[in-house]
Amino acid sequence: MIRFNSKRLIIVILTTLIFIKPLFSAESIDPIKVNWSFKELTGKFDRASLQRGFQVYKEVCASCHSMQYLSYRNLGEPGGPEFTLEEVKAIAASVEIEDGPDSQGEMFTRPGKPSDKFKSPYPNVEASTAANGGAYPPDMSVLVKARPGGADYMYSVLMGYEEPPAGMKLDDGVYYNKYMIGQKIKMASPLSEGIVEYSDGTEATMDQMAKDVTTFLAWAAEPELEERHRVGFKVIIYLMLLTILVYLSMKKIWSRVDSEI
């Protein structure tokens, strides 16, 4: 009879799979690992970083990238940048929103309100593609969730602009970025030292801006993150306590039977 240890075989197979995997995934570099404050199980966003990140988004990214699923009111909601109501109103009012038609059938513009969606820089995808050399700047609402490396990847791309290696020819309007798949990107490095002057006095280094704006994008993609973590802890603690109670009941009930549970 063949003696067989199934556990050992499973371990052997899994180790083999782990070892053959790296051989075939060399087309892009792993993103820089950043110790984000929102990464842990109890993670929260850094409020000040979110506010600075919004400033970077508004002054730099928003000139090309839309964020159409967010409303200005979100900026004041708990778990986000938590601007005060006055600040949110001021941010919204700084934008001209097209509304209408009015009673005469005419479209008109008015200052934005907190309930308005973020105004997009282009009227449609075609316009934004045409204005950006044929590459459509993706909407940023869920961008962090839409890339395999998430926030680490966003940060890495912002920091990954370099001189192309010797011998690599790049077309006009194409830039070298070592974290992009294929190492080519159609967006010029959006950040440069001091492109933003932070209203809270923080020094606007490349690293600082990249971290802040990535934090903001991570929140934009998952505005529910803090609440999710909080509710999750309560739910799991509740379930664990209930599990213990049910386990004890089960032990008691099954003690009447001469059988293992």
Binding site: I10, I13, Y69, K145, G150, R228, I253, S259
Partner: protein, 419 residues
């Protein structure tokens, strides 16, 4: 069974029960004699019922806010995530719930394979179960299309295009399925409609599945027929209900871990990119639970051949009760089958892994070996092992493991410990 003798105590109860014997049914379900030696692998039936109900309830709520239109679907999902009260929770439960549902169903199926639960007299339970599984796959596939992200769109394109492999009428069938000349708004609409319908068909089949189970009663870890009710059985309530509740709670803790702390880890990030018919993703992969079949599909160089093998890999399960020639049910007493059982489990895991990798080089080679072995397991291994194998002695009952004549009592003790 003692069902027939049940009479409600109250007058009103008796009046009602004479007209519709619901109380008799309740009493039958509560008293249902269940083997007392069922292990935790048997708790997944209850867990699956929970999964189905969770999917239906969260799904109905999601449908109140979702818009099945190619231009609006993606935005309506984001609306659910951002503006609907606890919409993120409902959606994450629903999307992770699908994965948990499949995790549970795979454990349930592999449990059945290990303990021979598909064998006579339980073939019909097995076949109904497979029909449920088929409907689950169709439902999950269509559900994955609804958010109308890149993987939704391209997954739908790949899977529906399979039908174009059918000779002569393939193209017409595909157009008919799409309701258009490509995956488009009509496709999304009908997928939504069917995605809403199928869970109720599954519910109906679940009732039949349980009904069919209650005719012969549960199989059990030692796979022997029991006298019911007897010292070997316990009433379903409270013994099995409390045990199922305990296992379900453990399952819910894992489920919650996914929902609250890594809700997107089982999904694909490309599905947060709105569907774009002009841009094909680098790798189109289905959800993890369909990967073994995807690997089988791609391991055949010919499209029609791949489709036939893929469907064949599921349909061969329907004849499993007749391919397994062994009279002994439980693998506990089948040393040779046990060995091949685990190879089969590893083979399916391997196929799943290959399904996630690009179909080239060593991955393709391994996927082909895996596919060939998958079919060999059913067509060659199972019939032959059943005939060649010398099974261990099987006890006569759970309470007192008496041996079939001539066996060594010490061996029986050893076997009993293994259970």
């Amino acid at each position: 069974m003692s069902d027939q003798e049940y009479t409600p105590k109250s007058k009103a109860g008796k009046w009602f029960n004479d007209r519709l014997p619901l109380l008799t049914l309740g009493s039958h379900l509560s008293d249902y004699p269940t083997p007392k030696n069922l292990n935790y692998w048997w708790t997944f039936g209850g867990i699956l019922t929970f999964c189905l109900l969770t999917q239906i309830i969260t799904g109905i709520v999601l449908a109140m806010h979702y818009v099945a239109h190619a231009d609006l679907a993606f935005a309506s999902v984001e609306h659910i995530m951002r503006n609907v009260n606890y919409g993120w929770l409902i959606r994450y439960i629903h999307s992770n719930g699908a994965s948990m549902f499949f995790l549970a169903v795979y454990i349930h199926i592999f449990r059945s394979m290990f303990y021979g639960s598909y064998k006579s007299p339980r073939e019909v339970i097995w076949i109904i179960g497979l029909l449920i599984y088929l409907l689950m796959m169709a439902t999950a596939f269509m559900g994955y299309v609804l958010p109308w992200g890149q993987m939704s769109f391209w997954g739908a394109t790949v899977i529906t295009s399979l039908f174009s492999a059918i000779p002569l009428i393939g193209e017409s069938i595909t157009t008919w399925l799409w309701g258009a000349y490509s995956v488009d708004n009509p496709t999304l609409n009908r997928f939504f409609s069917l995605h809403y319908l199928f869970p109720f068909l599954i519910s109906g089949l679940v009732i039949l599945h349980i009904w069919a189970l209650h005719v012969p009663g549960n199989n059990n870890p030692i796979g022997i027929d029991l006298k019911k009710p007897s010292k070997d059985t316990v009433p379903f309530h409270p013994y099995i209900t409390i045990k199922d509740a305990f296992a379900l709670l453990l399952f819910m803790i894992i489920f919650s871990g996914f929902v609250f702390f890594s809700p997107n880890v089982l999904g694909h990030s490309d599905n947060y990119i709105p569907a774009n018919p002009l841009v094909t993703p680098a790798h189109i992969v289905p959800e993890w639970y369909l990967l073994p079949f995807y690997a089988i599909l791609r391991s055949v160089p010919d499209k029609l051949g791949g489709v036939i093998l893929m469907f064949g890999s599921i349909f061969i399960l329907f004849v499993l009760p007749w391919l397994d020639t062994s009279k002994v049910r439980s693998a506990v007493f089948r040393p040779m089958y046990r060995y091949f059982y685990w190879i089969f489990v590893i083979d399916v895991l391997l196929l799943g892994y290959m399904g996630a990798m690009p179909a080239e080089g060593i991955y393709l080679a391994l996927a082909r070996i895996g596919t060939i072995y998958y079919f060999l397991h059913f067509i060659v291994v199972l019939p032959v092992v059943g005939l060649l194998e010398k099974t261990d002695p099987v006890p006569m009952s759970i309470s007192a493991p008496v041996l079939s004549s001539g066996a060594d009592p010490a061996l029986a003790k050893k076997d009993y410990d293994k259970i």
